[in-house]
Structures are given as structure tokens and as C-alpha cells.
């Protein structure tokens, strides 16, 4: 099971980093999402993988699964979800204002003499 989870985290991270390095905002956002999925699974496994163990007190339990990473991953999921929503909104705004969704800023429509109001 460890090998399966570890390779899943690795594959998600690799795909996320590849997509993040793309030129357009849409793949970048998908890449960021994959990266946050990977980190959520990684955070969950930091309490060690276990099956069939209770999380709360039980008189005949052989051991317990660590409850803290579950709380941490819940926080992390909520935060990454919110952050993804924010970047989607901002990317949409940038796309509507600029007419294209390139991430790079050094292109022909940046004023040559620089400067902003």
C-alpha cells in the first residue's frame, strides 16, 4: 500500500509541476490543483498508513490511527480549494481584460517605456 500511495503522490506532483510550467493560465491552474491534491494525500499519510484502526477510544483496540493529520488535511483541503477559486477568478479577469491568457508578462502589449498609473 505504501508503494501505491507513494507513487500516486509522485505522479500527481510530477504532472502538477509539468503543467505549472506551461504558458497559459488554464494548464497552470490545473497543475496547481494537482499539486495541492498531491500534498493533501502526502499530509494524510504523515500519520502513517493504517487500515481498520479506530480513530477514537475503543476498549479492545490494538492501536489507533493518528487523528491530527486528518484535521490538518481538512484545513489544507479547504484552504487549497479557496485559493484555487481565487486564482480562477483572477485568471478570468486577466483573460477578459487582456484578451488572451498568457502567463508571461513580457509580450508586445506591455508598454515599452514602462510605467503605470
Amino acid at each position: 500500500m505504501e508503494a501505491l500511495v507513494a507513487s500516486a503522490i509522485g505522479a500527481l506532483t510530477a504532472a502538477g509541476i509539468y503543467l505549472m510550467l506551461r504558458q497559459r493560465t488554464f494548464p497552470v491552474i490545473i497543475g496547481l490543483t494537482l499539486l495541492t491534491y498531491a500534498v493533501n494525500v502526502f499530509l494524510f499519510t504523515s500519520g502513517r498508513l493504517a487500515t481498520g484502526l479506530p480513530g477514537i477510544y475503543s476498549s479492545n483496540a490494538a492501536g489507533y490511527s493518528d487523528p491530527l493529520p486528518q484535521a490538518l488535511v481538512l484545513t489544507a483541503i479547504v484552504i487549497s480549494f479557496g485559493m484555487t477559486a481565487v486564482i480562477v477568478m483572477m485568471a478570468l479577469g486577466a483573460f477578459l481584460e487582456a484578451g488572451h491568457d498568457k502567463v508571461d508578462m513580457n509580450d508586445e502589449d506591455t508598454p515599452v517605456e514602462g510605467g503605470q498609473k
Binding site: 491552474i29 487549497s80 486577466a94 481584460e97 514602462g114 510605467g115
Partner: protein, 504 residues
């Protein structure tokens, strides 16, 4: 009993910010009054906490009364009290400028986002728990995303997307580091980490080293340390002026976290990481300073010049931090306070100039601007402070850093002194293009009229006055910083304040 007051710097902006969104979203005057009242209250509370923290050992507030290491702690020690006071001072000046210049009227919800940003910053400085630090980072970041794109515009939105994307990567890296640390040590309380990470077996050493470096990389992103500084120039130069000025304290959060973790959890005497952090950080800090100085010299717009000045100041601060000695850390703290005020003043002046000019490009000189005499005077004072020339506090700060790094003088001194010269040149060039050549390009034309905006000038003047105070009272301030650094390098009081349970 002081203890409940520790929560005020987090709760006050949170409550006021929420109230603004819910009850006064359509009334700008009411928002301004409450925002100002909130930051003034924050200033009063943080000064009180500063006075208390300088006389008493670190104090812990257990949220929900859960004991460490399971509960979430707010820890007030000298370092965190210093940082929240700095934040409050900066917040008052930035808010006055925002109201005076009317920036808050160019988009919605400026004041609410400003309050949430303050909540996140104060929380990050006060928390005693590494995961909680992540949560407060996210709070301040999500507010900063809103502030960054305040008033909109194509370039600002596109720079904002880059900024968010960069920080999302940083947040993911933070979680990877925290998860790895938790899987090794079983704790995320900072004091508990300091105790447990020193007792790790050699089998965990490799993983712990990876986790420690990842954690420091996250703080390096926040602190704009090369090679992770790419987000800063684009973000700061495209953000609205007052927001960029408030962001001057955001890079300091990275530096603060490096000091907090680098000194208490991962000191150079740590059996596993040893001097690993310091060895990586010093070259990175030197390159940061050089890149910042080159950026100042080559900047094509005034706002990029100010942004690269922020990069250079972080380079200087990290050079001092990377030494990890009490004297160097005291110098770093003094320099950080100075560079926060000087950087914020510079961004506000850049905004004053950009508003009175067609654009803030430095390639060609434009006709004179309104109130040019006053603005050029302010620009000169802030340039002197930023470049580290006498008589202002930048000079004292750099002198302290140089003095603390005598043993590496050949390398560090030459880099700091050479980059100071480049900074002076860059600022001199920008100032002459902006203010002197302006008369040559329009010899007899009158400057276009512009409202005086007294409050905006008061805000800039207050920040520069802060620098003057920091210079005049340099002796007592440095003594205080040295005592703060000494308490950091002897973390027994910090750890004892957390009342960790006895193991076995």
C-alpha cells in the same frame, strides 16, 4: 492579568474586517473611521504588549485552553511583540496615505481586505505552532491577493495571477515540509519541535534535513531570497502604491520565520542539520543583494526601482540572519525595522510621483510635477535611508551588519559596500531624471495642478520621522535588539512558557 490581550492583535482586525463586509460595505466614510480606529487600537495594544514583553519572560496564550503540544498557542515574546508593533506603525501610516490619496475609493472592500491582511500578519507573528503559521500565511495571502488587484487593470490582474500562482506553489511546499516534519517528530508546536528534533535518531536524519530545507525554502519565497525572488518585482511594481507599502512588512514575515525556526528549532548547533541552513543561506543572500542592486541600477520604471530596493534590503537582512550569531541577529532586526519603514516610505513616494506624471517610466524625462519641491525632498530622504548613507538609520543598520560579520569581511564587506554604491547611483539617476531634467524638458511650463493631499504627505512624513527616531534613539534600540537576540539564542524560557508535558 495580561494574557487575554495577546489575542487582540488577531481578533480586533478580524472582527472589524468582518463587520465592514457585513454592515458598512456601501459607506466609505464609516469604513475609514472604523479602519482607522482599528489600526490605532492595534497600535496601542501592540505597544503595550511590547512594553510587557520587554520586562517579562515569553507568555503563552492557549486557545481553547488546550495544553501544548496539542492545542494552538499564541506566544508573545520580544521578537513577536517587536514585529506586531512594526506592523501596527506601518498600518497606521499606510492607512492615512490610502485615505489621503483616495486609493480606497477606486475599488471596493479595500478596508475590509486591509483588516484581514493585518489579522494574518499579526497572527503569523504571534503563533507558536508551525501549522497555524501556515494558516495565518494563507489568511494574509488571500487578503493580499485582493489588495494586489485592488482597482483592477490589465497589467495588475496579470501580475496578480503570477503572484497567486507563485504563492500557491509556496503553500504546497509549506505543506510538504510540515507533513514531513510531522511524520518524523510527531509534533508541530515550535517549542516542542525544538526539543524533539534535537533528539532524533540518525535514521531520520536524511528526511529531516530535506524537510528543514523545504521549510526554509518556503520562508525564502516569502522573503524574496534568490533564486525565489521572481514574484517580487512584478508584484510590488504593479500593486497599488499603498498596498506595495504594506507589503514591505510581508517580506519581513519570511525573515521573521527564518529567525524563529533557524534559531530556535534548527540552530547551527543542531545535531542533524548543523550549519546546513546557514551555508545555503549566505550565498543566496549575497546574490539577492547583488541582483537587487543591479535591478536598482537598471530599472526602467520608478516602481520597479522601489521593488528592487526591497529585494536588496532583504538581501542585506538575510546576510546578517545567515550568520546565526546573537550580534548579527540583533543587527538584522534593527535593519529589518529600518528597511520596513524606508521601503514603505519609498513606495508611497513612488505613488505620489506616479500620480502626478503621465507614467512612472525612467527612460525619458517629463515636465515638472505638482508639489515637485516637497516630493523631491521626500524622495531624497528616503533614497538616503534606503541606500544606507549617513545620517539616517540605514547607515547605522548596515554598519551593524558589517560589524557583526567581521570574520567574513573580505567577501561580505565588499559585496555590501559595492552594492551600496550601485544603489546610490541608481537612486541618483532616478532622482535626476524625475526632478532635475524635468525642468530642462519644459523650461517655462507650469506644473499641472494636483490637489495637495495633506494626509498623504503626513503619512510619508510619519514614516520618515520613524526613521529619524530610529536613528536618534539607535543606542537604546540596539541594546533592546541585543537583548532580544540573546533571548532567542537561549530558548529555554520560550520552551518553558509552552509548559510541555514531561515525556515518560
Amino acid at each position: 492579568m495580561m494574557s487575554h490581550w495577546i489575542t487582540v492583535p488577531v481578533l480586533l482586525p478580524a472582527v472589524i474586517g468582518a463587520a465592514m463586509v457585513l454592515m458598512m460595505r456601501n459607506d466609505l466614510l464609516l469604513q475609514r473611521v472604523f479602519s482607522l480606529a482599528s489600526v490605532l487600537g492595534l497600535l496601542a495594544v501592540s505597544v503595550t504588549l511590547l512594553v510587557v514583553a520587554s520586562h517579562e519572560p515569553p507568555e503563552v496564550y492557549q486557545l481553547g485552553d488546550w495544553p501544548a503540544p496539542f492545542g494552538i498557542m499564541l506566544v508573545l515574546d520580544r521578537l513577536s511583540a517587536l514585529m506586531i508593533t512594526l506592523t501596527a506603525v506601518l498600518a497606521v501610516a499606510v492607512l492615512l496615505y490610502t485615505i489621503g490619496s483616495g486609493w480606497d475609493n477606486r475599488g471596493r472592500h479595500f478596508h475590509a481586505l486591509f483588516q484581514f491582511q493585518l489579522m494574518g500578519i499579526c497572527g503569523a507573528f504571534l503563533t507558536g505552532d508551525a501549522f497555524n503559521l501556515f494558516v495565518f500565511f494563507e489568511i494574509l495571502l488571500i487578503a493580499s491577493y485582493g489588495l494586489m488587484i485592488h482597482a483592477g487593470g490589465k497589467d495588475r490582474l496579470r501580475a496578480g495571477v503570477q503572484y497567486v500562482a507563485f504563492n500557491l506553489v509556496g503553500s504546497s511546499l509549506f505543506l510538504f515540509a510540515l507533513a514531513a516534519i510531522y511524520s518524523i517528530t510527531g509534533t508541530l508546536n515550535i517549542a516542542d519541535l525544538a526539543v524533539k528534533s534535537a533528539e532524533l535518531s540518525q535514521g531520520d536524519a536524511a528526511l529531516f534535513r530535506v524537510a528543514a530545507v523545504m521549510l526554509m525554502m518556503v520562508f525564502a519565497i516569502k522573503g524574496a531570497l534568490v533564486p525565489l525572488q521572481f514574484w517580487l518585482p512584478g508584484t510590488y511594481s504593479n500593486a497599488p502604491g499603498p498596498v506595495a507599502a504594506l507589503f514591505a512588512v510581508m517580506t519581513k514575515i519570511g525573515a521573521y520565520s527564518v529567525i524563529r525556526f533557524g534559531v530556535i528549532v534548527l540552530p547551527p548547533t543542531h545535531p542533524i542539520t548543523g550549519t546546513l541552513i546557514a551555508d545555503l543561506m549566505l550565498p543566496a543572500a549575497l546574490v539577492t543583494l547583488i541582483i537587487g542592486a543591479l535591478g536598482i541600477l537598471g530599472a526602467t520604471t520608478l516602481s520597479r526601482l522601489a521593488a528592487f530596493a526591497a529585494v536588496a534590503s532583504m538581501g542585506t537582512a538575510f546576510i546578517a540572519i545567515a550568520a546565526f550569531t546573537p550580534a548579527a541577529t540583533a543587527a538584522a532586526l534593527y535593519y529589518m525595522v529600518h528597511s520596513t519603514l524606508a521601503g514603505a516610505a519609498l513606495f508611497l513616494i513612488v505613488d505620489l510621483v506616479a500620480h502626478r506624471r503621465a507614467h512612472d517610466g525612467l527612460r525619458q524625462s517629463l515636465p515638472p510635477i505638482a508639489q515637485a519641491g516637497l516630493i523631491s525632498g521626500l524622495f531624497m530622504v528616503s533614497a538616503i535611508a534606503t541606500a544606507g548613507m549617513p545620517p539616517l538609520s540605514g547607515f547605522i543598520g548596515k554598519l551593524l551588519v558589517l560589524d557583526a560579520l567581521r570574520d567574513q569581511a573580505a567577501l561580505v564587506w565588499s559585496v555590501i559596500l559595492a552594492t551600496s554604491l550601485m544603489t546610490i547611483l541608481g537612486f541618483a539617476r532616478a532622482g535626476s531624471t524625475l526632478f532635475w531634467k524635468a525642468h530642462a524638458s519644459a523650461p517655462d511650463g507650469d506644473a499641472p495642478g494636483h490637489p495637495a493631499q495633506v494626509l498623504a504627505f503626513v503619512a510619508v512624513g510619519a514614516l520618515l520621522a520613524g526613521l529619524a527616531v530610529l536613528t536618534v534613539f539607535a543606542g537604546p534600540v540596539i541594546t533592546w535588539m541585543e537583548a532580544t537576540a540573546a533571548s532567542l539564542y537561549d530558548p529555554s524560557a520560550y520552551i518553558a512558557a509552552n509548559q510541555l508535558p514531561e515525556v515518560k
